[in-house]
Amino acid sequence: MTVATHEVTFPITDPQTILELRAGDEVTVQGHIIGIRDRTQIRIFDQGIEPPMDLRGAFLLHTAPGVRKLGEGRYEKVCIGTTTSARMVRFTEPLGAQYGVRAICGKGGFPDEAIEPMRRLGMVYFAIVGGAAALETTQIEEIEEVAWEELMPECLWKFRVKDFGPLTVGIDAHGNSLYHDVQAQAHEKLKELYARL
């Protein structure tokens, strides 16, 4: 496998940036990222409430951070890690189509239903190492904004990051998914293993 490495700053303004990324590539992220989770997206899409943050060109992180409250609307990080993405796959298309989100980062991957909307809308899925929160916390420089505090910890968070990663492109904007490929190969392998039992 040829693997390229990239450094990308979010939010992006040029859609070409996403098209340069290929499944399996290594990516390090700079700039600003948005923390989002199950209840945050249920509020946006199922309850129809507009998010009070601009998501155009954004990088979304599936997280519910551990934080310490400093004052009104101000928090400092304690431990920030990433949750399983698959639960939230149905929000992929509207996030891209309605709000212009360009990257979603989580752990464990998206099932195949994410491949087509990501291809059509020019979006990418980044795989992070689930559970590697101690490291991830050091790469988040500051919690700059928080909205919907009543959903704590599933609020809408804005983090400033430095050298966030390494991430792996799990699904690219060209219809390729590492998760699809790994599952297809594993199911073939299972036939062989079952025959040996």
């Binding site: 496998m1 693997v3 399996g24 290594e26 209840r39 997280t63 519910a64 951070p65 551990g66 310490r68 304690v78 431990c79 920030i80 890690g81 990433t82 949750t83 399983t84 698959a86 752990k107 464990g108 991957g109 795989a127 190492v129 689930g130 559970g131 590697a132 929160a133 101690a134 490291l135 991830e136 916390t137 050091t138 910890p153 390494p166 792996t168 799990g170 590492l178 998760y179 490929d181 790994v182 599952q183 190969q185 594993a186 199911h187 392998k189 299972l190 293993l193 079952y194 039992l197």
Partner: protein, 299 residues
């Protein structure tokens, strides 16, 4: 035993629980560190190596920064071995474990995960109705208490599977179910981790045993040689699936496979799978009848 002494002993158990919960979250056991380093040494896929090297770096950062290894503080699960002459009733031991869990959550502070299962409203500092969860074992002719804290993250717990195989499915049916479960779970439970399997008993007991299995020191083998052989075989088969670290493809899908079993009904053949992520956290304490507490990294 006087009321004062009982109260002191309850406080000792509460202190132990509060310490164990945080300790387990920050400092993962040496056997797990060794298993992860060995996995990084034998993984050949590029994304798999990237994942395992990041995991090793993360463990170092957690040590250096005195931070949690993983942000998911889980649900607090304790396993208790209670001596018949330990001078504190299990009803009070439970109170102490609950109070210790709450205190650790507030004082650290730790993220509070506990919610009402229907309303989804937060129920407090990682405690609630029937939370924390305690597994009990009672030991004759002994006056001590062993407590093990196993914070269980949701990513791996969501990848739990039960099948009521029939006797005609045999051991082959058990193996197939374990293989299809771990392939189906893919990257979601944060592989490579420990696959806990419970076989026999009843539906509920099989899952209970699977949870006991994930709490064992890594690579330990069942005392029954027939079961130990099945552990070895499944461990090998699971690593042939190619799911790899974080489901991105590779040689290391699981760090090990542990099985606990119980005898069962002649027409039952239940098999339960409970996954423990690579951050397989556990921490133990031995508490003597006078409240003297000895913490144990390796148990």
């Amino acid at each position: 035993m006087s009321i004062d002494t009982t109260t002191e002993l309850q406080h000792a158990v509460e202190d132990a629980a509060a310490h164990l919960y945080v300790w387990a979250l920050k400092d993962i056991p040496q056997d797990l560190r060794d298993a992860l380093a060995a996995a990084a040494g034998r993984e050949t896929s590029v994304p798999g190596q990237r994942v395992l090297n990041t995991i090793l770096r993360n463990i170092e950062v957690a040590d250096g920064e005195n931070n949690l290894v993983c942000q998911d503080t889980g649900i607090a699960v304790y396993t208790c071995r209670v001596g018949e002459r330990f001078p504190l009733h299990p009803a009070r031991i439970y109170e102490a474990l609950r109070d210790g869990t709450a205190r650790a959550t507030v004082e650290h502070p730790l993220r509070s995960n506990a919610v009402h299962t229907i309303t989804r409203e937060n129920t407090g500092p990682n405690i609630g109705h029937r939370l924390p969860i305690v597994h009990w074992e009672f030991v004759a002719d002994w006056d001590g208490l062993d407590v093990k804290c196993v914070p269980k993250g949701s990513g791996s717990e969501n990848m739990s599977f039960l099948k009521m195989c029939v006797p005609a499915d045999g051991v082959k049916g058990i193996k197939q179910f374990v293989l299809e479960s771990i392939v189906g779970a893919g990257g979601k439970p944060c592989p490579p981790g420990i696959v806990g399997i419970g076989i026999g008993g009843s539906a509920d007991y099989a899952m209970y045993l699977a949870k006991e299995a994930i709490a064992r020191p890594i690579g330990t083998r069942n005392a029954d040689p027939v079961v130990a052989q099945l552990e070895e075989e499944l461990y090998g088969l699971l690593n042939e699936t190619g799911i790899g670290p974080m489901g991105l493809g590779g040689d290391v899908t699981v760090l090990n496979c542990h099985i606990e079993h119980a005898d069962t009904h002649m027409t039952l053949n239940p098999v339960a799978v409970n996954y423990q992520c690579w951050a397989a956290r556990r921490a133990s304490a031995h508490i003597a009848a006078d409240g003297t507490t000895e913490f144990d990294r390796e148990a």
